[in-house]
Amino acid sequence: MIILSEHQVARVQAHLARAGLNEQLSTELLDHLCCAIEARMTTGESFDQALSETLKSWPIRQLRDLQKTINFTTKTKPMLYRASAAIALVAGICLLSPFTSVDHSAPLALDHHDHSSDYAADYSRFDPPTASPIAGVDMKAALSSGFGMRKHPLTKRTTLHRGIDLKAKVGTPVQATAPGKVIYAGEDGNYGITVRILHEDGYVTAYCHLSKHVVERGDRVILGQEIAAVGTTGQSLGPHLHYEVLKDDVPVNPLALVD
């Protein structure tokens, strides 16, 4: 069995240090990466080979995202107990399909409000929106401008970019990234034609610079439902989708919510 030397461990640690993780997570991931490297070396790879292969799947940005996800998931307060995404999906199938008339006593628990049991407490809450607003397009692959402080391309002032920009052609369908209720659909100043959807657990998603919207205020939408089309209305330099996720009115990085 191969065990990394102190010097080799230090090289792995140097990589992690660049991500600026908290000590506990950094220690835990160090062990994880070292184990993965040792496993590769057992199959005959050299340390350098194993190191670079292992770190390939752990870019700095992903490490930071991981820490954000952990901070996020361990801080949210228990609010609405809900069936997990998979079960909700089946519920959707039940309600929408001709199966509706079949046995409603099927063991599909949808409304678990039994707070007394561990079971209910263990139930998944509303999952933050993680789907891509453009069907079949990976947000990271289509990203043209990320979340955070940046120099605005038009005003040249450094401001918080409250969402992410995704490259797309005018007319590309835009979909709801989680089920919810449309709270705004129409012209909204710099944002151009905008759709805002309210979800459970205090989440709101916003889709901006659209060419048109195909849902109206008050509509209920499901995950993946077409709600609008990409455009370049409002303060925009060219066709793209500006996509925001807000939690309790605070903008969060949509990419940090994705696994």
Partner: protein, 112 residues
């Protein structure tokens, strides 16, 4: 490999069951164990595993302790009584979920 959605919806059930059976494991070990058991078809990405583990600790379903192994600190996870109860009910729920899916999708056992 199964889709991210399917894994996401079942990860908690799998991790709780694993710890219920094995008692005490560290992150990398869980990865390996699940990969071996599933012939590589069910992969716990670290990006999903660690947030879940930390959440389960926060919810009181797991506890942790750190030990020095091979000169490195290793964080072990163990299941609590509440965790065991959750593991059992999740597993039972999944069993009936499978039966429901079988009906909904009209899945017949494959004859070979």
């Amino acid at each position: 490999m199964y889709s991210k959605e399917l894994i996401k919806g079942t990860l908690r059930t799998v991790v709780l069951r694993l710890l219920d059976q094995e008692g005490r494991l560290y992150g990398y070990q869980m990865n390996k164990r699940v990969e071996d058991l599933s012939d590589g078809r069910y992969t716990l990405t670290e990006g999903a595993l660690y947030p879940l583990l930390h959440k389960l600790v926060k919810d009181g379903l797991l506890t942790t302790e750190t030990e020095k192994v091979n000169g490195r600190a290793r964080r072990y996870y163990s299941i609590t009584e509440a965790g065991r109860a959750a593991a059992t009910s999740r597993r039972e729920e999944f069993r009936s979920f499978l039966l429901t899916m079988q009906t909904l999708l009209d899945l017949k056992p494959e004859k070979t």
